[in-house]
Amino acid sequence: MENNNYAIETNDLSIHYGRFTAVKSVNMKVERQKITAIIGPSGCGKSTLLRAFNRMNDFVPGCFVTGELLLDKQNLYGKTIDPVEVRRKIGMVFQKPNPFPKSIYENIAWGARINGFKGKMDDLVEQSLRAAALWDEVKDKLQESAYALSGGQQQRLCIARTIAIQPEIILMDEPASALDPISTLRIEELMQELKKNYTIIIVTHNMQQAARASDYTAMMMIDDKRAGSVIEFDDTKTIFMRPSDKRTEDYVTGRFG
């Protein structure tokens, strides 16, 4: 019964670059409609792990994955699975806002169109922008360039673009690290709104952000062979209040990293 509550499960998931193992045997169960944060010092493989979830690492030459990544009991690295399908089901928001150099409208419509969306595009655009709390700010300038928006607005547009293709999971790779505190807060509020419908996995450098915005937290650390691994994964309160690993405690209290 509990199994149905997991959006993604990993079984001994390891990520290698050629002979070098970047992330070692990750076993995580990510709960549906919750926000899971991945924290850890720089270079510990947080982003690498996140990108493995929607097979963005496929583009990195020499990168390959061992172990299993299960979405609805299906191994996303299985032979019959096309990475394009994975990325449609698991959307991604990047560290730096990267809207397409097109109009605001086109930014949302393009993804929908290439994925074969057949409904009313205007409605989809409005719905997605509303869901990303951007509609009121841009409704009168849908045909204007997405580059004319502020950084925070651009990042919310990227979220709207991701929502528009109706993924099951949204991955966020430090989505607020390039934004000012107010825009950051808006993104965090938006995440709380989005988790009603989506499962969110977020990589963050910002301890406070992980503490206030996430339900679960995975702590990653690098070993002496420079391979990252998840050393502790629990609900966020436990990680920040009563971590069981000394290294986690040192890190979240600011004594390390």
Binding site: N54, M56, F59, P61, V84, E85, R87, R88, G91, M92, F94, K96, N98, P99, F100, P101, K102, S103, W110, G111, I114, N115, S145, A146, Y147, C158, R161, T162, A164, I165
Partner: protein
Amino acid sequence: MSNEKISYPEGADFYSALRARYRTAAIWLSIFLGSLLIAIIALTALIFNVIDGAFGYIAYEYKNPPTEFTSTPVNELTKEELLTVLKDNLSSGAYKKLDWEKPMESRTQADLLELFLERLVRIDTKGTWKMTESLLNGAEIRAEVAEKYPDAILEFRSWLTPQFLVSPMSSRAEFAGVRTAILGSLWLVGIAILFALPVGTGAAIYLQEYAPKNWFTRVIQTNINNLAGVPSIVYGMLGLALFVRVMEQFTSGAMFGVTDSNGRTVLSAGLTMGILVLPLIIINAQEAIKAVPDSLRQAAFGVGATRWQTIWHHVLPNALPGILTGSILALSRALGETAPLIVVGASTFISVDPDSPFSKFTALPIQIYQWTTRAQSEFHAIAASAIIVLLVLLLSLNATAILLRNRFQRRW
């Protein structure tokens, strides 16, 4: 760590050091300025030299003044009048021979006028002078001509006239024009770009977006870079062997039912030029594709695009201005190249316009080269005029390409 005190010059010491620093800067600045001046002087000299040759005095004599044949002034003669004059004054044998070469009725007024001046009036150029000579030593030239050739007419003329642009080739500099050469050059550049732009862009897309990064790709990449520097005559040899000889069935048009031609066509030359500019276009297109930020590709992949959708909808549109910049460079190169054309077999004397890919042809650089090698100074004058035409053509083709590029360059 040593405990020595760190000290910097202060006060007067500081200022004397500062003056020395400024002096060094001033020396370098003057070197840079000097380099710029040299470049400007070289370019000015080039343009001046060309213009200097295209205008100036010409002294000529009529062996038989035109008034002996007709009362109408020479430049107002109509086709009909010319026909009558020629028929009346040429020996019937000579007329029949001309008529047999090309029926007199079907010739243009310019052709007939040329025949009239060449065969009957027998214009005879005594000398030409460059623009600066003509302007500065006008009096001396007039005196000299009056003394040496009392019957000669001395005129200050521009060799670059509308007539020059629309006339075909002629054996007499006064009547020669560059129409055939302009059309030949346009055909040539057109075929070269039509061939090289899609092929080069395709190769660049493959190399940049698909090719695995291994030693084989690196070998190919290095070769492409080196090919860009191969002397153009080598491409001429390739064109001769491949397009003129091996692919003659295709390049002569025999495959398409054209019978009166061999492989030395504008198509062969255009394809040779296409191969010549291919490395240039590939390298530029690669740079343009490389300049498209990866974040854009990731954004597209992130919403479930395939690689091709990413390339077609995002990479190519954003790389297009850069690709077109490369094709501008390629165009300039193709327009100015001479050596491969000589090898591939451009005609040096041809008065028939190219009207299909299977035509014989000549091109502007070929004409210029040919005219500058002639002994008579009037040919040097029309060579200078043809250079001006070539430069203007180059600038206008480039301007077209830049306008096209700016149209595609929708800034967001």
